[in-house]
């Protein structure tokens, strides 16, 4: 009878012995990959989250800010001062900046004295020069520019640049500022100037996209009290951000990144679980005789089970720790890929992701290895005498319930919400079942056809068909790995290509915004002088939706991020007598041109869906303080890819004609005439020229960064797929060795045996590739139609490459994994395995 500590010592001895015998390599590899992929994402998102909590007042530049798309009431500022809080202001808008003949669309921020209240602005005199902390905001008449503006406009300190009607002297290069934007699409070159210069710039006019910010700092009790007071006084389109909820845009980006990277990482966890299950079965087969002998020698069933549970728990903990180390190293790669999107120094991650990784690793191992382990305890002692008594069968799917429960829990946890989690879970089970049925059907069909064809082919098919269920599992697992790769290599390029193909070469490539009513005539004259047709100008009025059917709306009514944004911010309204040619009425009727006094709205169907607006609804808008209400009489479908000016909501002329208006247009400027734009900005400095190609390049760059990150996480999926393949080959190696020996006894040459195995592996790989190509195509189709709104052109290569690379890869791996089979004399194999 063993004492408890003797059991522990014995379990550790068994573990060490198995490790030396190489029995544990596969299990360790599978756990390291699963835990590594989970913790890579975990550590990285933890660093961003810590950055948000530890540096939130630096990210804000204050302890509290109020953000608004219209000037902030003086009451909010004076109350803060009255409460003894530090206060300052800033406003931000896009504008053209000129230097000599060059112009550049920039992100301009005007600062009031005292900025920033928290954190610091750092300056330098040249690129990579020594940094110093700014002691004040830029003096009136001067500007600080960032490195991008410095290089693109070829500036040096002392140069004079034009911003609207202003001429500013470049005083310094700004190297760091708090509350800077996260990269994403807003990453325009930046310019900081003094608030006092704004009035003279002529840049803040009707229709300008200005964001106002009020910064507040002080002791936390006073700030909290002020926040409570201010909460009741802010209006729609105004938000309060404190240190606990700073930078909601970064938080929501983090949330999304965490969700998708986390789900991507789960692919490798699921594949690893398959590998663990396969490797554990092989472990069982190898240990069954030892256990029968142990039982004959008087070890009780429960002791055997305890010994192996302990053995596997220690193994799980050690391998998981190794996986955490891999994840810790890999997260720095992820941070360097995505770090550019967030302009804050990331602190070191905490220990939480490591604990999560350890727990997951141990549970995964126990969940998928326990069922065969428990059957080890049930080995009939008689097996020592009669080998044909065989291996006790585990309890099948029920035995894996713990493992499956771990996977389900992980999916729900990583999806962050029940609905998405259930979708992913359902989708995964659906796809796995469908794929399995497909593979089984193909195997059945092939075995019908196997009376045809050469000997190697027929015996290859026979081998595949024999373990139909196990092979199906392998094919599906491998298919998932290959699909991840195909999606990120071929499909990504295809989608980008499809998207670009929808743009006609003469599509407008520049937008002009901020055109004032008194500039309409002179602008026409400018184009005439430069020999260009006068582009169509569209009136634009900024307004906010405040009620639907007389019921006030707020962003809290919506769960979707886009809907929240649309409600929180002003958006552009227009009016028109006729619908534009690229608009199609899909419900209701456009207003009658003869009825000039009609009050109707036409809404783009996408936004109508997002906001839950139906034909016949009455919408109330606030435009610069005055309100109007009108009925939705038509829904439109808009071809956004035309890159022409379009509006979500168009009113009949009578509704908006007298509102404060600016104009917008789009035009095609041939490459040779780009200098004309410099002249345009010189003459109309308040105009903002948006370069479509540049925006597309930015979108593309962002897509690349994000998909590189996902691709990196999918590397773990591929590795897990390879471990599944290796585990599968290892679990059948004994059988293969035995069969090869019989075939050689019957006179088969090595080449004949190799050809049979090649046929089997290549067929398995081709099936996995076929599945992967189908999955990747379906995914590409869904992304194209549902997300990017482009026709999916399909790619015949994906089938060829999927099937080809699957067959070649698996055949190569299979032949390498079984080369020993051909090297042993047949009699040895027959004696060892037979």
């Amino acid at each position: 009878m063993l004492k408890w500590w003797q059991e522990i010592v014995l379990a550790l001895k068994l573990l060490l012995r198995d490790y030396r015998a190489g029995e544990l390599t596969l299990l360790i590899a599978a756990i390291v990959i699963a835990v590594g992929s989970l913790t890579t994402v975990g550590f990285f998102t933890d660093r961003v989250r810590l950055a948000l909590t530890q540096q939130s007042n630096q990210l804000l530049g204050a302890d509290l800010t109020i953000v608004s798309d219209r000037p902030i009431a003086g009451e909010l500022e004076s109350e803060a001062r009255a409460r003894g809080l530090a206060v300052t202001r800033a406003l931000r808008f896009p504008s053209m900046v000129t230097h000599g003949a060059d112009t550049l669309l920039s992100d301009v921020k005007a600062l009031a004295p005292g900025y920033p209240l928290r954190g610091e602005v750092r300056l330098a005199d040249r690129l990579f020069g020594d940094e110093r902390v700014a002691q004040a905001v830029p003096a009136a008449g001067t500007a600080w520019v960032d490195d991008r503006m410095l290089t693109r406009l070829n500036l040096k300190p002392g140069d004079v640049i034009g911003v609207g009607a202003l001429k500013l002297r470049v005083a310094a290069l700004v190297t760091h500022e708090p509350d800077s934007v996260i990269g994403f699409i807003n990453s325009m070159p930046r310019l900081l100037l003094n608030e006092a210069d704004i009035a003279a710039s002529g840049l803040v006019q009707t229709g300008s996209r200005v964001r106002y910010r009020l910064y507040i700092a002080g002791n936390s009790a006073a700030v909290d009290a002020y926040r409570q007071w201010a909460q009741t006084r802010i209006g729609p389109g105004q938000n309060i951000e404190g240190i606990r909820d700073a930078r909601p845009e970064i938080r929501s980006a983090l949330e999304r990144a965490e969700r998708f990277l986390g789900l991507a990482a789960l692919m490798s966890v699921i594949l690893s679980a398959v590998a663990i299950a396969l490797a554990a079965r092989r472990f069982l087969q190898r240990h069954i005789d030892g256990c029968a002998v142990m039982r004959c020698l008087g070890t009780r069933q429960s002791v055997i089970v305890r010994l192996y549970v302990l053995h596997f728990a220690v193994l799980g903990a050690v391998a998981s720790a190794l996986g955490c180390a891999v994840g810790y190293a890999a997260q720095s790669v992820l941070a360097s890929m995505l770090g550019g999107l967030i302009e804050v120094a990331l602190p070191w991650p905490g220990a939480l992701p490591a604990w999560q990784g350890l727990t997951t690793g141990v549970l995964l191992l126990l969940g998928f290895a326990l069922p065969p382990l428990i059957s080890l305890g049930q080995v009939p002692m008689l097996r020592v005498l009669r080998r044909e008594l065989g291996v006790p069968q585990g309890s099948g799917a029920i035995g894996y319930a713990l493992g499956l429960a771990v996977i389900c829990a992980l999916i729900l946890w990583k999806a962050h919400e029940l609905r998405l989690g259930l979708y992913v879970l359902g989708g995964f089970l659906g796809v796995a079942t469908l794929s399995a049925l497909l593979v089984l059907a193909v195997l059945r069909l092939l075995s019908r056809l196997r009376t045809e064809g050469g000997m190697s082919w027929r015996y290859g098919v026979a081998n595949l068909r024999r373990h139909a269920l196990g092979n199906t599992l392998q094919v599906v697992a491998l298919g998932l790995g290959i699909m991840a790769l195909l999606t990120l290599t071929l499909i990504r390029g295809d989608l980008l290509h499809s998207w670009q193909a929808t743009l006609r070469p003469d599509s407008p490539n520049r937008f002009l915004i901020n055109i004032q009513p008194d500039q309409v005539q002179p602008l026409g004259a400018f184009f005439a002088v430069h020999g260009m047709a006068k582009p169509d100008l569209f009136p634009m009025v900024r307004g906010r939706l405040i009620a639907i059917n007389d019921r006030p709306v707020s962003s809290a009514d919506y769960s979707e991020d886009r809907a929240k944004r649309l409600i929180d911010r002003e958006f552009n309204l227009s009016w028109a007598q006729q619908p534009q040619p690229d608009n199609r009425i899909i419900a209701g009727r456009w207003w009658d041109a003869r009825d000039r006094d009609t009050e109707q709205l036409s809404v783009e169907n996408g936004i109508a869906e997002t906001l839950g607006i139906k034909l016949g609804d009455r919408l109330t808008y606030d435009v610069a303080g005055s309100q109007f209400t009108a009925t939705v009489t038509s829904l439109r479908k808009v071809d956004w890819d035309s890159f022409r000016v379009n509006f979500f909501v168009i009113a009949s002329p009578a509704l908006l004609r007298d509102s404060p208006v600016s104009y917008i247009t789009s035009l095609y400027v041939p490459q040779g005439q780009v200098t004309m734009l410099n002249a345009l900005v010189g003459e109309f400095p308040n105009l903002v020229v948006i370069d479509v190609a540049q925006i597309m390049a930015q979108v593309q760059k962002m897509m690349e960064q994000v998909s590189n990150a996902v691709q990196f996480v999918f590397l773990f999926t591929l590795a897990a797929g390879l471990v599944v393949l290796y585990a599968a080959i290892a679990s059948t190696r004994d059988e293969r060795e035995y069969e090869a020996a019989i075939m050689r006894t019957l006179g088969a040459s090595r080449r004949q045996i190799a050809a049979t195995q090649f046929a089997e592996f290549a067929l398995m790989g081709a099936l996995a590739g076929l599945l992967a190509a189908a999955g990747a195509s379906a995914l590409g189709y869904a992304l194209a139609i549902k997300v990017l709104n482009v026709p999916y052109l399909g790619n015949p290569w994906i089938w060829l490459i999927g099937v080809g690379s699957g067959a070649a890869g698996v055949a190569l791996a299979g032949m390498l994994g079984t080369r020993r089979v051909l090297a042993v004399p047949p009699l040895q194999s027959l004696r060892r395995v037979g």
Binding site: A462, M743, R744, L746, P826
Partner: protein, 227 residues
């Protein structure tokens, strides 16, 4: 007593097999020499561990000796490489094992077809079918080994062994895994086919009664031929 013809089909000269077991050399076979004439039936008798299965494996070229040589039908077995020996087996040799050694993935028919196909013989399917009919398994051609009884499996193995019409048949305890009645039927079938096809038979057994059905008995004790 069968008359010994001029050219022996099997000739073993000084066959020796040693294995290294943790530093000590274990001698399994020591200097075994004998000849088997074409058409002869020879039983190799011995107790368990006497080295008889090792001897059979060496005669068939399934393993390599530590010293000595074997020639089959005039060809020096160990001058050939692994594939050369396999080709020779495909051409000349049939096998019957104690544990049948059928391939579990293949049907009875496919198991019998295998050596025919490996030897590149045309019409493998028809020939295999005829062979299974001959051993009384016409109704079981599409069955997998696990669907057949032990006796049926051994009959499939016999069909497979005779399918290529080998000159030489090696049988290793062919009744070891069968009950007495089934074993007797299988042995009758084997000798019947042996006579029909004038095959040379080398049979390994510890069963004295069975060995007496062969024309000659070689006794193996502690790795040496006795008497």
């Amino acid at each position: 007593m069968t008359e010994i013809l001029a050219t022996p089909i099997v000739r073993a000269i000084g066959l020796t097999k040693q294995v290294d077991t943790g530093g000590t050399q274990l001698i399994i076979l020591s200097d075994v020499s004998f000849e088997v004439a074409s058409g002869e039936a020879v039983a190799i008798l011995g107790v368990s561990g006497s080295g008889k299965s090792t001897l059979l494996g060496l005669l068939a070229g399934l393993d390599t000796p530590s010293a000595g040589g074997v020639s089959i039908d005039g060809a020096d077995l160990f001058a050939l490489d692994e594939d050369g020996r396999a080709a020779l087996r495909a051409r000349l040799v049939g096998f019957i094992f104690q544990s049948f050694q059928l391939l579990p993935a293949f049907t009875a028919l496919e198991n019998v077809m295998l050596p025919l196909e490996l030897a590149g013989i045309a019409d493998a399917r028809t020939k295999a079918h005829a062979m299974l009919e001959r051993v009384g398994l016409a109704a079981r051609v599409g069955h997998y080994p696990k669907q057949l009884s032990g006796g049926e499996q051994q009959r499939v193995a016999i069909a497979r062994a005779f399918a290529c019409e080998p000159k030489l048949l090696f049988a290793d305890e062919p009744t070891g895994n069968l009950d007495a009645a089934t074993g007797a039927q299988v042995i009758d079938l084997m000798f019947e086919l042996n006579r029909e096809r004038h095959t040379t038979l080398v049979l390994v057994t510890h069963d004295e009664a069975l060995s007496r059905r062969c024309g000659r008995q070689l006794r193996l004790a502690a790795g040496r031929l006795a008497g």
